[in-house]
């Protein structure tokens, strides 16, 4: 919390948080901006990592994640339609942040439903991945068309949003994001047993008493809440959801979701906070940091999978 455009001494940060003596301007920065940002970083990291883990198990694909499968893009489309269209309807204030979240959820859920349908019909992992990437690109194209057609002010809001930022979240937005993410995380905890069963594939899971419809609804609901909410308020943040579950698996040397779900929450929260600190240090968008840190992990996973197949 000490780092940022204005450097604040650690002692003053502590003073501001504990209500001690410090200049009111600094207290405001620390509580209203830095504290909120730190909480958002923790939440977003945990949410993205857990949703990535759920996707990887459900699709039985090491490269699955909210970003790759187009879920983030779906949420983007929802937000694009809302942000670029909302001024026309005349929404403002609290309604806008709720609308953004709702739009992102709808977009994410729609893409997830389509991907799940496709995944059921086509068992081939590569095809699903390629379709996910195509889907994302298609949606980006639609978003670009929307941008081209839209009003200048709305456009600016949207472009800043796409850069991914933990900083633009306000207290009122946090009041929506917090319960939504907690609900998503709670659903993921409830889903540990189905997730473990799904490790052996859907056929095996069903033969062991898994209710396929219910568990899929559980996982989709959870992922939509997690990835959708984060995308809505922080913009599309890449690589965290894909890379961190692998790091968690390596760290804990386990595939049991009873270990991995809490592990991913902690790891995601920590790493995201770290990314946030780094990004503030150099004043660069957080997306750049997550990509730079995430890509080596993904490359490693791909190479490891190759050697396993050979």
């Amino acid at each position: 919390m000490a780092t940022g455009t204005v450097n604040i001494a650690m002692s003053q940060v502590i003073a501001a948080l504990s209500g001690g003596e410090c200049p009111p301007a600094i207290a405001k920065i620390v509580v209203n901006i830095r504290l909120v940002k730190a909480i958002v970083a923790l939440l977003a990291g945990a949410a993205l990592t857990v949703s990535g883990l759920e996707m990887q198990t459900l699709f039985r694909n090491p490269l699955a994640g909210p970003y790759v499968l187009g879920i983030s893009s779906g949420a983007s489309l929802g937000v694009a339609i809302f942000v670029l269209g909302a001024p026309l309807i005349g929404f403002s204030g609290y309604l806008v942040s709720f609308g953004v979240a709702g739009a992102a959820w709808t977009g994410a859920a729609l893409v997830l439903a389509v991907m799940a349908l496709v995944a059921r019909r086509i068992g081939n992992i590569m095809v699903i991945l390629i379709l996910g990437i195509m889907f994302s690109s298609g949606i980006s194209a639609i978003v670009q068309v929307l941008q081209y057609l839209s009003h200048e002010d709305a456009l600016k809001t949207f472009v800043i949003w796409t850069m991914g930022s933990l900083g633009d979240v306000t207290f009122s937005q946090l009041s929506i994001a917090l319960p939504a993410i907690f609900a998503g995380l709670a659903l993921s905890v409830v889903a540990v047993k189905p997730l473990n069963m799904l490790l052996l594939g859907e056929d095996y899971a069903c033969s062991m008493g898994l209710n396929p419809g219910r568990s899929r609804a559980l996982l989709f609901g959870s992922t939509t809440l997690l990835a959708g909410t984060v995308t809505a308020f922080c913009g599309p943040i890449g690589f965290v959801g894909m890379a961190l579950p692998h790091v968690a698996r390596m760290l804990f040397a386990d595939a049991d979701h009873r270990v991995l779900i809490p592990g991913c929450m902690l790891l995601g929260a920590d790493v995201m906070l770290l990314c946030d600190i780094i990004s503030k240090f150099f004043t660069v968008p957080i997306n750049a940091i997550t990509a730079l840190l995430g890509i080596p992990v993904v490359v490693l996973v791909v190479i490891k999978n190759r050697s396993m197949a050979a």
């Binding site: 409830v190 540990v192 047993k193 473990n196 069963m197 490790l199 052996l200 594939g201 056929d203 095996y204 069903c206 033969s207 062991m208 008493g209 898994l210 209710n211 396929p212 698996r249 040397a253 386990d254 595939a255 049991d256 009873r258 396993m308």
Partner: protein, 241 residues
Amino acid sequence: MIKLCDFSIGYGHRILISDASTTVPSSCLTALIGRNGTGKSTLLRAIGGMNVGYSGAIEIDGADVRTITPLGKAKLIAYVTTERVRVPGLSCADVVALGRAPYTGWAGSLSELDRRIVADSLDAVGMGEYAHRTMDRMSDGECQRVMIARALAQDTPVILLDEPTSFLDMPNRYELCTLLCKLAHERGKCIVFSTHELDIALHMCDAVMLIDSPRLINLPPAQLLAGGYIDRLFPIPEWMK
């Protein structure tokens, strides 16, 4: 006990099996044979309740497969698919423990009894010493045994296996079938497995189910041979005679 009543199944206009009625008793090892594409897997999936696109009825111990809940089904039928499962980081004991899923609570925590059943199941397939090895470093034969141990841990009267011998070498195939035979007779299980190994089906099993589209014939091996079905469906090429 598995009971088929006027069972018919097919894809679109293609009928694979029509109006079959037969019974597979418990303590009986049954091989399911038939040419490629005649519906061996389809039949097994139907019995396992994973394919409901058939007419007629399938009963397991008197209960209609279509009306049993997923959980109830998991306590009656264990299924071993052709899929090779190798999850990095998951030990043999973990995989077998998943077989206890129908009996554990929401988090899937194992009780003392569950742990004992998992250990027993691994011992029964001769993999007791592999409990803590992960499956991504094991041979096909070993993996297949672990999956059978998982089916055993599920503690069901019926076990279905889809081509369990297909990735195995000759000695492993015989060993696996000896194991299945032992489990059927000693534990009173009703075991049905599909296979392309005629010698195994005819020499090591109590009964052979033969798909002679669209008929389904279920006879002891000796009678099946005497009936001339094998010679007709699996002719030996001239040069081999």
